[in-house]
């Protein structure tokens, strides 16, 4: 990618323009620049001259950035309301991931273990893979949700640290304190209920705290690396 396009991308993202609009804008400008360069070359200019003239016709970097930034409708929700997006996003993401895991657990209990008092019994054949998918989803959901939030913040070049910390804390606390709650069937032969409870018994508080700390570190680590790398970057907007 040309330096001017890279610089424009950083400016737009930092100003809050939605990444999808930035990506498309850069594609369009790059193609337009190529068209203008070809036009100037057809007029008899050499490649270097043609590229310079084409860039001048396209507009100054400041103007290309400003006209995009001035349109509030093109801003992303992450930029408009980082606290809301990064604070509630993980909750919704975790709810979706765990909801899917619970659905797999409950349906597997119904299909493979009809009449059993609990789904946590030895299984065989295809049931191993079926319950395995649900188990993997359950254990990885907090981490994937947290990394998704970090990706969202990174894509938008969110400079504010606290919304990200809040999101990571939410993920860590929910992920560490949530546990699958299984209630056996009331009527023999039926399937029981599955759910999530968030209050670990006192005896497990230390474990939950350790789990929360681990999740928090794992979730924030990529963000810290990104911040460190961007602070060391030689790239300076003009």
């Amino acid at each position: 990618m040309a330096t001017w396009l890279r610089e424009l991308r950083e400016r737009l993202l930092r100003a809050g323009v939605a990444p999808r609009h930035v990506r498309r804008y850069l594609t369009e400008l790059r193609e337009h620049w190529s068209d203008l360069t070809a036009e100037e070359e057809r007029a008899g200019r050499n490649r270097a001259e043609a590229e310079t003239l084409a860039l001048a016709r396209l507009g100054r970097l400041d103007d290309l950035a400003r006209i995009m930034i001035e349109r509030p409708e093109l801003r992303s929700w992450t930029a408009r309301a980082p606290w809301v997006v990064l604070g509630t996003g993980p909750v919704l993401g975790l709810a979706a991931g765990w909801g899917m895991a619970l659905l797999i657990l409950w349906s597997g209990w119904t299909w493979f273990l009809g009449g059993s008092q609990t789904p946590f019994v030895p299984v065989h054949g295809f049931a191993i893979a079926y319950f395995g998918v649900g188990r993997m989803l359950y254990y990885t959901a907090p981490l994937l949700t947290g990394w998704g939030m970090i990706l969202l913040a990174g894509r938008q070049r969110v400079r504010a640290v606290w919304p990200v910390i809040l999101g990571a804390l939410v993920v860590a606390l929910l992920g560490a304190t949530g546990a699958v709650d299984v209630r056996p069937p009331v009527v023999p032969g039926d399937t029981g209920d599955v759910g999530i409870r968030f209050f670990p018994p006192a005896s497990q508080l230390a474990d939950a705290a350790g789990h929360a700390l681990l999740l928090f570190v794992l979730v924030t680590l990529p963000y810290l690396v990104w911040r460190w790398r961007s602070s060391r970057s030689d790239f300076e907007p003009q």
Partner: protein, 149 residues
């Protein structure tokens, strides 16, 4: 004049000044500069021109800019990069739709009109026809009050 500055460049000095005066009086233009380009002024004009062109055919950005230059005999020259934010906003407002097409190895994003775009074009066209009429009247020595009403 800055020939490469983005935005609308109106090549007839008197008409340009009249438009700028109109915008200043309406409070649309924040600051008056000696240049005949105006970022705020751009907000409406590229949209009007783009919608009118896309009413006839599906186009991509470069084609749109060339078409504006050709159809206005280069009287109005749009800063080449400024059409894209307008296109994005119009699409977001539901006036346009876009599709990506690869042509001879080049990635083109084509825009075409939606029914809401036709309605918007009719509104904008009526607004600008009225404005042009008012300016024409002013130039001919008519009433001034209508221009800023």
């Amino acid at each position: 004049m800055a020939p490469n500055a983005p935005g609308i460049i109106i090549r007839t000095p008197l008409e340009g000044k009249m438009f700028l005066l109109y915008l200043e009086l309406r409070g649309t233009m924040v600051e008056m500069t000696s240049r005949e380009t105006n970022p705020n002024f751009m907000n409406g004009v590229p949209e009007l021109l783009v919608l009118r062109l896309l009413e006839d055919a599906e186009m991509y950005g470069y084609e749109i800019v060339q078409a504006i230059r050709d159809r206005t005999d280069a009287v109005i020259v749009v800063g080449e990069g400024v059409v894209y934010p307008a296109l994005h906003s119009l699409e977001r407002a539901g006036a346009l739709k876009s599709r990506r097409k690869t042509v001879a190895g080049r990635s083109r994003i084509y825009y075409s009109m939606k029914p809401a775009g036709s309605r918007r074009l009719a509104d904008l066209a009526a607004q600008w026809t009225s404005l042009a009429g008012a300016i024409q009247k002013t130039l001919a020595g008519g009433q001034h009050g209508n221009v800023v009403a």
